[in-house]
Symmetry: C2
Subunit: 402 residues, 2 copies
């Protein structure tokens, strides 16, 4: 087992740079991957980023099925990776264990909660890594660390053997540095999806682009043009006529209420040590009323209808994954809270409606990573992976910045 | 320096079984004491029960004046003692460092937040110990561990060099096993108080006794009769006609709002690791409205008037210090929260109005400690210490249980 002290990224869980060899040859033979510490790897404590969690839960005897599927198709594990505490974070901070490094921007946060998985892939320590995405936890670190990252269609990949945050929104996704590897993982985990036809129409999310920082809008312009060439007819329209902030508010009520409901017994009996910010988020979650949850559910229902209407077969939507590049480290909570809410405004449309979203890495003129996202109809995940490959091929040919 | 591993009570702060010798001979020569980890002892980090507190504050260069006063009058320090995190607790729990043992009832909590100070005195490791009492943090552990303990008149002993919780309620007090030592410490720390006349009238707080568990009421009956002999004419009447719970509610709003105001900048910039329960209390504190604080201030003003009317010169009030003996350890937060509120109903009358209160140790038939409290008028602290001595003498003569 490699020495933990060699983890200069602070991205692996201490004592869990475990090597678990592939079970047999397969589509992923030769590839190595890392596993976010919310997913069970047999024989290793699942820590969920909080020391009291591993202390109060048994060491798993079995791999999570999604982990087994990868091992059975030829890939090997090189370690378990850090997560924001109980996955309740989007920036990659962890008060117990510190913050994994963002290899592409060391003075900035890596994004979370799948922070360690993004960090080790960005640093080239393995070929791909598993993360989870409930409210943005794959998409955001993918954007901040310059990686391909997918939030699959909700419910498509089983969530057994994984620490749940909010079942109505939990998904398991992955990161990779290149579109081909990214797509190969999909060929294993999304086997059940039929061959999908190519997209014909690109909707540029006018509201989401308007919400992003001007520098991000400008930098993504050429990426959108390339995407247009890959996809077809372009229209510009808002995706959330009611307001991205209204959808985000509903998502916050629903997602955090589910998270609190799932954790409340553990909190009551174990009184865990947590970062103040995490405890505060949980207590706020506990205070939403039935009335607020009811209103949020109505908003969700309308949002799902809107997305279904927008995402006719053959349509994809593009938007900035995050409204800005990764924030600088070590800012006060009062600043970070507002940044977090802004980020969630762009991750909510797919999260609230359950459709798949893929981050395509791009960068600012100074090289800092940002991301262009594509969202497709329910179960169009493999189409999104194919578009990512086509996009990468087009930009490589043109020598474009990515 | 004694070996920390010998701290079988888990009552000393790790690495702080410091020995600080008396500066000169004096009234306390030959006595040793311990210091709660909210008070500065020069050269030792003040930890306030939270690792992130000591990490983010400089090591004090000077003793707190109350510590200096004791060293200058002949007493020597044997160590710094555990506190509930940031003094925000009444039971003696600390998620970072564990719970000091209650030497008189090892299966029960020691009480807090001056938990370590009560523990080491009860175990006989030193003659007395300093604690702080904002909402009951000396009185409650004194009751639970079977010690004399005082919350002095608010403002009488300076609070410089001590981590403040809520300035309008913060006091520094002390514990001792016997009334004579208890009083000797007062002769140093309460020097400025003039000689005080003896009490003439005892008010038995009918509401507070009614609020206590029946077993506590019964056990305290003989103690009250002894006190009556020491003091004089007895009347039984409620001290809080509006309701002990109403006063307690007001105290909670006012005290915790001050605590949050004092800590909010630290929370925002340091995002400390805390027990979930402590973070929850702080967030709740942050949510009180100006309207709620205004209403609570009106209740406080009436309570102060009521106490002033009740505590005519020469009058003392007696009541159970806590409504029950120390709770068993390891109960869920939902249970502990209600116990905490019940305890606060009895500590609030003196805390809200600023008058002094002394716990006189007593016990249940099975030997479990409980406490009888005496409350006197503003600045009657030395009278209360004298009554405690007279009470102890009377019970020793009669061979009564204490």
């Amino acid at each position: 087992m490699p020495d933990d002290r060699q983890d200069s990224l602070n991205a692996f869980v201490r004592g869990q740079r475990c090597l678990v060899a592939a079970i047999r040859e397969g589509a992923l033979s030769g590839l190595t991957f890392a596993v976010k510490d919310l997913l069970d790897v047999a024989g290793y404590a699942t820590g969920a980023g909080n020391p009291d969690w591993s202390r109060t839960h048994p060491v798993p005897a079995q791999h999570a099925p999604v982990v087994s599927a990868l091992l059975e198709d030829g890939a090997s594990i090189i370690g378990k990776t850090m997560t924001d505490e109980i996955s309740l974070g989007i920036l990659g901070e962890n008060g117990h264990f510190g913050m994994p490094m963002n290899p592409r921007a060391p003075d900035r946060v890596p994004g979370g909660s799948s922070s360690g998985s993004a960090s080790v892939v960005a640093a080239g320590l393995c070929d791909f890594a598993l993360g989870t995405d409930t409210g943005g936890s794959v998409r955001v670190p993918a954007s901040f660390c310059g990686l391909y990252g997918i939030r699959p269609t909700h419910g498509l990949i089983g969530f057994e053997g994984i620490v749940s945050q909010a079942p109505s929104y939990d998904t398991v996704g992955w990161f990779a540095r290149d579109a081909r590897t990214f797509s190969r993982v999909g060929s294993v985990l999304l086997k059940e999806l039929a061959e999908q036809r190519a997209p014909r129409r690109l909707v540029v999310a006018a509201d989401a682009f308007g919400f992003a920082e001007k520098g991000v809008q400008d930098a993504l312009e050429s990426a959108v043009r390339t995407l247009e060439h890959c996809v077809g007819a372009r229209t510009d329209e808002p995706i959330a006529p009611a307001g991205l902030n209204v959808w985000q508010g509903a998502q916050r009520v629903l997602q955090s209420s589910e998270a609190y409901a799932g954790l409340s017994r553990w909190l009551d009996t174990c009184n865990p040590l947590m970062s103040y910010s995490v405890a505060r988020a949980l207590l706020r979650a506990s205070q939403f009323t039935d009335e607020e949850r009811g209103r949020a559910a109505l908003i969700r229902q309308e949002a799902m209808g809107r997305m279904r209407h927008l995402l006719q077969p053959g349509t994809i939507v593009c938007l900035p994954t995050t409204p800005f590049a990764a924030p600088l480290k070590d800012q006060p909570l009062s600043t970070l809270g507002y940044l977090r809410d802004q980020i969630s405004c762009l991750t909510t449309p797919a999260g609230l409606s359950g459709v798949p979203q893929v981050n395509i890495p791009w960068s600012m003129p100074d090289g800092t990573p940002i991301g262009l996202s594509i969202i497709g109809p329910w179960r169009s995940d493999r189409m999104l992976l194919t578009i990512a490959e086509a996009f990468e091929a087009a930009t490589s040919k043109n020598g474009q910045r990515k």
